[in-house]
C-alpha cells in the first residue's frame, strides 16, 4: 500500500518538474564541460583551473553590473572578454611552455593555477555571499503546473546557443578548421602553415568565454555568488568524462545525463533506497561515470587511444 502511495506522490508534475530541473542543471554542467573539452581537444590538457574561470566570470559580471552600474548583458560581455584574456595569459605564461608533458604533470600544473587564481579571487572580492541581482533572478513562468524559473530557462537557452555557435565556428570558419586540423594531427597541421600557438590560445580564450557564461548562470540565483561556485566544475568532470574527453557533443550529452541522474536520484532515492544515506545524489554522478567508464573506457563519444610499444 505504501509503495502505491509513494508512486502516486511521484507522478505527473513532480516528474516533469524534476525533468526540468535536471535539464537545467545538466545545461550548466554542459557549459563547464564544454570549456574542458575545447582545451583538451586542442592541447591535451585537462584544465582544473576552469573552475577559477567560472568563478572569475561570475565576479567580473557582478562588479561590472552592480559596482560600475553597466547594463547586465554588457557586464556579461565584459566578463567573457576578461576570462578569455586570463585564459590566454595562463596559456602564454605556463601551459604553452609545457607542451608534450605527461598528463599527470599537466593536471598538477592546472591545479596549481587553480589554487593561485581562486585565492586571488577570494582576496579581491572576499569570502562573503553576494547577490548578483540579475534581471531574471527571481521571475518564473508556470506551464501546466510546472514552475519554470527564468534563470534556468536562460541556462538551457545559452547552452543551446553556445552549442550551435560551436558547430558553426568549427564547421565554417577557417580558424575552426585550423583547430580541427590541429586536433587531428598537429605536425600535419603545422606543415600546412597553421600556427599551433594561435590555435592553443584561441581554445583557451573560448574556454574562458564559456566559463564566464557558466559562472553567470550559476551565480544568478538569489545570494548565490560566493568563491566556491567554481566547485561545480568538480561535478562537471563526470559529465566531460562520460561524453568522452574530446567530444563537444559528448560534453552536452554527458552534462544532461549527469544533471538528470542527479535530480532524479534526489527525487527517488530517499523514497526507494533510504539505506544509501543522505544526500546520495551528490555522489551519483561519480557512480554513473565509473560504471560507464568500465564499460566504455573512453566515454560515450571519446576517441579511442591507440597504444604502441
Amino acid at each position: 500500500v505504501s509503495f502505491a502511495l509513494v508512486l502516486a506522490e511521484i507522478t505527473g508534475t513532480r516528474v516533469l518538474q524534476t525533468l526540468f530541473a535536471g535539464v537545467a542543471l545538466g545545461a550548466k554542467y554542459a557549459l563547464v564541460a564544454l570549456g574542458f573539452v575545447i582545451i583538451f581537444k586542442a592541447t591535451g590538457v585537462i584544465n582544473f583551473a576552469q573552475a577559477s574561470f567560472v568563478t572569475l566570470g561570475a565576479y567580473l559580471t557582478y562588479t561590472a553590473f552592480n559596482t560600475w552600474g553597466w547594463n547586465f548583458y554588457v557586464a556579461i560581455g565584459v566578463a567573457m572578454v576578461g576570462c578569455a584574456l586570463v585564459g590566454v595569459a595562463v596559456e602564454a605564461a605556463v601551459l604553452g611552455r609545457m607542451v608534450g608533458q605527461p598528463p599527470f604533470t599537466l593536471i598538477m600544473v592546472t591545479i596549481g593555477i587553480l589554487y593561485v587564481l581562486d585565492n586571488v579571487i577570494t582576496a579581491i572580492w572576499g569570502p562573503e555571499q553576494l547577490d548578483m541581482r540579475a534581471p531574471f533572478a527571481g521571475t518564473t513562468t508556470e506551464v501546466g503546473g510546472v514552475v519554470l524559473a527564468h534563470r534556468e530557462l536562460w541556462s538551457i537557452g545559452i547552452t543551446v546557443v553556445v552549442l550551435i555557435a560551436f558547430f558553426l565556428f568549427f564547421r565554417y570558419s577557417s580558424l575552426g578548421l585550423a583547430m580541427r586540423a590541429t586536433a587531428l594531427d598537429q605536425e600535419a597541421a603545422m606543415a600546412q602553415g597553421i600556427n599551433p600557438r594561435v590555435v592553443f590560445r584561441t581554445s583557451w580564450a573560448i574556454a574562458g568565454t564559456v566559463a564566464a557564461l557558466a559562472g553567470v548562470m550559476l551565480a544568478s540565483g538569489p545570494a548565490a555568488l560566493n568563491p566556491s561556485i567554481g566547485l561545480i566544475a568538480l561535478a562537471a568532470f563526470p559529465a566531460m568524462i562520460l561524453g568522452g574527453l574530446d567530444s563537444p557533443l559528448g560534453a552536452v550529452v554527458g552534462g544532461l545525463i549527469i544533471g538528470l541522474v542527479q535530480q532524479f536520484t534526489a527525487l527517488l532515492q530517499p523514497e526507494y533506497a533510504p539505506w544509501l544515506g543522505t544526500s546520495f545524489e551528490r555522489v551519483s554522478p561519480y557512480l554513473v561515470m565509473i560504471v560507464i567508464l568500465l564499460v566504455r573506457p573512453y566515454g560515450l563519444f571519446g576517441t579511442k587511444e591507440v597504444r604502441r610499444v
Binding site: 582576496a123 567508464l293 568500465l294
Partner: protein, 386 residues
Amino acid sequence: MAALSMPFTRVRGGRPHRNLATDRRADLRVFPGPFAKLGVVGLVALYVVIPGQLENPDLNILALCGIYAIAALGLNLLTGYAGQVSLGHATFFGTGAFAANWFATRWDLNILLYLPLAAAMGFLLGLAVGPFALRLRGNYLAIVTLGLLFVGEHVFNNWRSVTGGSRGTPSGEMRAVIGPFDFEDLEVAGVVYERPQSMFWLIWAVVAIVAVLVKNVARTRPGRALQAVRDRDVSAEAIGVSLARTKIAAFAVSGALAALAGGLYAVWKEYVNTADFGGQLGLLLSITFVAMIIIGGVGTVMGGIIGALIVWGGQELIKKYSDSGLLSWFIQDPTNAEDPSWFSVGEFNNIVFGLAIIAFLMVEPRGVAALWLRVKAYFLTWPFRY
C-alpha cells in the same frame, strides 16, 4: 639510476668515483658509500636530540610533517615509481584514521595491532581501486580517483557507527603503548617527557621504518617492475611484468601506507574530523600529498620526506612569521582591520602552494631531491658528463 656499463672505467685521463655504481650488485647497495652511513648516523642523532631542543608547537608541526611524510612515501611508490595518478589519497588516509580509532576503542587493541589493521583496511581499499587502473589510464584514471574522494566522503558521512557522521569522532581514547613505553605519557629512566616529545619519537620511528620498506621495494625486483610499468606499460607487459599484479599491488601498498599515516594521525590529533577527508578539504589534502612528492622529488625515497617537511613546514613557517618583514607586506593582520595588505594567511599560503607546484613542474620536475642527485652525479661521474 640505471647501472652504468664498465667501459667508462678504462677511458684515459680519469676514472669515475669508486662509489659510482657500475654493475647490478653495486646498484643494489643500501649504502652507496661511507657518507651514506655517516648520513644515517647523523639522522639518528637528530632524531634523538630534536625533541629536547624544540618547543612543543614546533614539535607538533614536525609530528604532522612525519605523518604526511608516511602518506607521501606511499604515494611516491604509486605515482613516482609506478606512474599511476591518484587524487584520492585523502580517502585512504581517512579510512586509516577511522579504522585505527575503531579497532583501538571497540576491540581495545594495542597500537602494534591497530595500526597494522588500519593499514590492512587501506590495503583492501587499494585492492578494490587498483583494477580501475587496468582499464583506465592517465587523465581518465585521475578523474576516477577524484570520484573516490566523493564516494569516500559520502561513506564517511553516513557510516555513523564508525565515523560519527559528519561531525567526526573523538579519538583521544586511543592508547599508544609499546612494551614498557607509553607514548601518551612517556617516562624513561625516571625522566618524564611531554606528549609532543614522545609523539615525535613515535611518529618519526614509523617514518624511518616505512622509508626503509619503500627503499627496499624500490631497489629490488618489485621496484623495477613498477618503474617498467611507469616508463611504458605495454613494453613492461611484453617482457613479462604482470600489469594487473603490479598496478593493483602498487595501489594496495600505497593505500596501506596512507591508511597507516591516517591511523597515526588519529592517535596524534585525538579527534578525527570527517570533513578533512572528503570534498573540498579532502581534495586539498590529496593535492598536498601530490605536491609533497613533486616538490620533494618524484621517484625518490627521500623526496617524500623532504617534500612533507617543505610543504607542511613551509606553510607553518609562513603562518608563524606572517607579521614580520616582507611577509607582513602581503599578509593581513587579523587583529587589525586597517591593515591594507591583500591576503589572509590562508590565501597567501594557498597561493604560494600553487605557485610552488607550477614553478617546480616547469623548472625542476624532479624536485628538491634532484638538485642533490645532480650534484652527487657530477662528483661521482667526474670527469665524465651526461
